[in-house]
């Protein structure tokens, strides 16, 4: 039997970016909040020894312990899913701060087109442009409505970016809080090349602070040192915005927030219409606790958000056979491919130095910024160069035709260690009726719950997209004048082995219609008004951008909705 705790107004499941932002917003306003996090507490002091590529990048020290829980995967429902036994395609967060601790900090906003993708596609190309089985839909919110929340998130984190707004991306109500990151020689090469080709390069908006910054809550953080150990590492300077150095201190200072670490939530208690709280396991002692609450907030990343709703029987499970139901629907990813690598025989760059979001990007082939009339795919990709610090275990690029080991490999990998750079498309991922997440019938987690099962593959849409943007990437690289170029415009089936990105989206999507979406534009569940499901799980599709700028904006929007709900109850409109 679970020990019953005193009731609280708000309980949050998961203390990553989303959980931390909502905790800060609500507790600041005087609401009592309990935050449950399955992992351990941690902070800047734990990163003194962080410049260790093996421990953090190769052995995933900061990520979720897969011995307790993972996902299962299959390309189609014709084969049995098997567990992702070791890390590959994406890296799940665990512990205070979640994945915000070890992200890169590339903080881009989705395009206005993204939020109205269905309407805008039909308007410009007609209904027949959307292929059979593709389930793109509008998000139930517009860019303009979401803009103030983007701004809030960017001010919390101190996002660094260009002062001029790029004409091809959403309008800003205010400039970036801090100046752009430095423009290194390789970024300049990219800028010159893309400008010559008539494109619109801009500095990648960055959560690695370009300069010291004090945010609206009065928290001051130091500038990024371009240390080259950013993605997969914590920042020992606090320069990289994570939830521990931004939102959580505000929650803690309010006196209204209680964090419980080592608390793994296993159930959302509900009667099918409303939730009454959650049950969690103390992962140290194995004891179970019930935490009653007026409002339950799911902020436990895409997979656990879906999984707990399904195992707790909350919301209508998605059925791929009929296309009906919503929980697990529209699972999307990120379509990466078509990278062009340039090997320079005559140039060396300081590639060992860099920062997680030191880069430049062109939006010319993202979203609907270009005419798709004669193309057999929708949406596109951000095409970018980045300088994140080429660490030696992971980066050993050699020109095509070089063996992957032995004398020649050694010589070439050393020769180009500081002379190879790449231009990479980051492609959108659009939803299909047969891509979804449900519960695995065979495999369980350490607490006896079924693992979430992913059914996903790349489609012809994705192959055509990559083929197209690979051409653009190669064109840009050619203009940068390397000695040789390596590129491929082919995209194979989705493979869970190589790392691609931790940009999993969908499953509890937002929208204006309860029959096709799970949550409204405040991330409030249509089927249970006191449950808010927040994070990239709400994305109706994934854009050609990293997700967290939009995740942060949605977290602020949800916080506002929750506070309205606490006052008035009912569905927030």
């Amino acid at each position: 039997m679970a020990t019953k705790m005193p009731k609280v107004p708000v309980v949050i499941v998961g203390m990553g970016w989303v959980g931390g932002i909502i905790a800060a917003e609500l507790s600041k306003q005087g609401t009592k909040v309990v935050g449950l996090e399955r992992g351990k507490p941690r902070g800047t002091a734990d990163y003194y020894m962080v410049h260790d590529e093996l421990r953090y990048a190769s052995r995933y020290d900061l990520m979720q312990d897969l011995s307790k829980e993972t996902v299962t995967f299959r390309n189609t429902d014709k084969v049995a899913a098997v567990p992702m036994r070791e890390y590959g395609s994406f890296l799940l967060g665990e512990g205070l701060g979640g994945a915000s601790v070890h992200w890169n900090g590339q903080t881009l906003r989705f395009l206005p087109y993204d939020f109205e993708i269905h309407s805008k596609t039909v308007e410009r190309y007609g209904k027949q442009k959307i292929p059979e089985g593709m389930t793109i839909q509008d998000w139930g919110i517009t860019y303009d409505t979401l803009e103030p929340y983007f701004d809030k998130f960017e001010k919390l984190a101190g996002i660094s970016g260009d002062s001029e707004t790029n004409p091809l991306i959403g309008k800003r109500s205010a400039p970036f809080p801090t100046k752009p990151m430095v423009k290194t020689p390789i970024l300049k090469l990219f800028e010159d090349a893309t400008k010559k080709l008539g494109y619109h390069p801009y500095m990648m908006p960055s959560a690695n602070l370009s300069e010291q910054y004090t945010n609206p809550d009065g928290i001051t953080r130091a500038a990024c040192q371009y240390c080259g150990y950013c993605e997969r590492f914590g920042c020992e300077y606090g320069a990289k915005a994570d939830v521990i150095v931004t939102a959580l201190p505000v929650a803690q200072k309010s006196g209204n927030f209680e964090l419980r670490s080592y608390s793994n939530v296993i159930q959302v208690l509900n009667d099918g219409k409303k939730a009454s709280g959650v049950v969690y396991v103390n992962t140290v002692t194995g004891e179970q606790f019930e935490q009653p609450a007026d409002v339950v907030i799911m902020a436990s990343y895409v997979f656990n958000n879906i999984k707990l709703l399904l195992t707790s029987k909350l919301g209508k499970p998605y059925d791929p056979a009929t296309g009906k139901g919503v929980i697990g629907k529209n699972y999307c990813y990120q379509t990466n491919g078509g990278t062009a690598s340039g090997f320079f025989d005559d140039k060396t760059f300081n590639l060992y130095a860099g920062a997680g979001s030191l880069g430049m990007e062109i939006p010319d082939f993202n979203g609907d910024n270009f005419d798709h009339s004669n193309l057999n795919f929708l949406h596109g990709a951000g095409i970018r160069i980045s300088q994140t610090g080429q660490r030696p275990i992971a980066t050993n690029s050699v020109p095509k035709g070089t063996p992957s080991w032995g004398k020649d490999f050694k010589a070439k990998s050393l020769k180009y260690a500081n002379s190879v750079i790449s231009v990479s498309p980051q492609g959108s991922s659009l939803p299909w009726r047969h891509h979804y997440v449900d519960l695995d019938p065979t495999y369980k987690d350490a607490y006896g719950l079924p693992l979430p099962r992913i059914t996903f593959d790349f489609e012809e849409q994705d192959r055509q997209l990559i083929k197209f943007v690979a051409g653009k990437a190669a064109e840009i690289m050619k203009e940068m004048n390397p000695t040789t170029i390596g590129s491929s415009d082919q995209l194979g089936p989705y493979n869970i082995v190589p790392y691609q990105s931790t940009h999993n989206t969908g499953g509890v999507i937002m929208g204006a219609d309860p029959s096709t979406s799970a949550v409204n534009s405040y991330l409030q569940m249509w089927d249970a008004e006191n449950v808010f499901v927040v994070g990239a799980s709400a994305f109706a599709h994934n854009s050609g951008y990293n997700p967290t700028g939009t995740v942060g904006a949605l977290a602020y929007r949800a916080a506002e909705g929750i506070s309205k709900y606490l006052k008035s109850g009912g569905m927030i409109v």
């Binding site: 567990p83 300081n350 060992y352 493979n495």
Partner: protein, 259 residues
């Protein structure tokens, strides 16, 4: 175990060990850290004169300075095969030392003794079924087993093809066996082909060359030096915008803790 050298010399595996250490035949074992450390150690007890010149100082010096270095997991033969195979993957050349001198075999040994070697943070619940390539390796055995069974396969293949152990065959013969492994032509254990072993082994070698020296490889940061990688520096703020390449003396995590 017999305690007198004269008795030991009758034992063929013992003789092979002598050979591997470089005391019996120089040159076969590329001047790696194992060769010098072991021949030094053995010499003390047996008074066999060392005939193999070691490139980096005398064996005694090595011994005196390297009490932190000894195998945690491998037996001697496994350590020797590991060193020999790793050296083919990342050989010594004009750029600098190869895997052997960099201590990669010790690195691999230590990893197999670590939580990683016993798959501590991987999902281990069954059933273990082999899926599609896109679903990942099925890993029914633990990593330390995959590596030791793979090493065993290298040895067996060398013996059946060349009637000699893997350490004693020519570099070209070693490469041919490693290539067959890479192609999956040699099977290591039921279902786990040589390919899985080879890919894991190759990754381990690269990690041993380039990880912080605290893990046992990248000896004296020589792996980093070859590619002008500065290791662990606190800040690049002063050089990040520079057009010219800036070379610096590398620093390790050790340096981080002793100032």
């Amino acid at each position: 175990m017999a305690d007198k050298p004269s008795q030991q010399s009758l034992d063929p595996s013992r003789r092979r060990f002598l050979k591997y250490t470089g005391t019996a035949i120089g040159g076969v074992v590329v001047g790696g850290v194992i060769g010098s450390a072991m021949s030094g150690g053995f010499k003390k007890n047996t008074a066999v004169p060392s005939t193999s010149p070691t490139p980096s100082g005398t064996p005694q010096e090595h011994l005196a300075s390297d009490y932190n270095q000894a195998p945690m997991f491998f037996n001697q033969q496994q350590l020797q095969i590991t060193e020999a195979a790793a050296e083919r993957i990342f050989p010594k050349d004009d750029n600098g030392p190869g895997a052997a001198e960099l201590g990669v075999a010790f690195y691999i040994d230590h990893q197999l003794a670590s939580p990683w070697g016993v798959n501590a943070r991987t999902y281990r619940m069954g059933p273990f079924v082999k899926g599609e390539v896109t679903q990942g390796d099925y890993l029914s055995i633990e990593r330390h087993e995959l590596i030791t069974m793979g090493l065993n396969s290298l040895e067996e293949t060398a013996k059946s093809k060349h009637s000699k152990g893997f350490v004693d065959i020519t570099p070209e013969e070693k490469d041919a066996i490693l290539t067959s492994m890479e192609k999956g032509e040699i099977s290591v254990v039921n279902g786990i082909t040589g390919k899985t072993f080879f890919n894991q082994f190759r990754t381990l070698v690269m990690e041993g060359v380039y990880s912080d020296p605290l893990y046992g490889g990248n000896k004296n940061m020589a792996g980093w030096k070859m590619r002008k990688y500065p290791g662990n520096q606190m800040s690049y703020i002063t050089i990040i915008e520079k057009d010219q390449f800036v070379a610096m003396e590398p620093r390790s995590l050790h340096d981080h803790f002793v100032h």
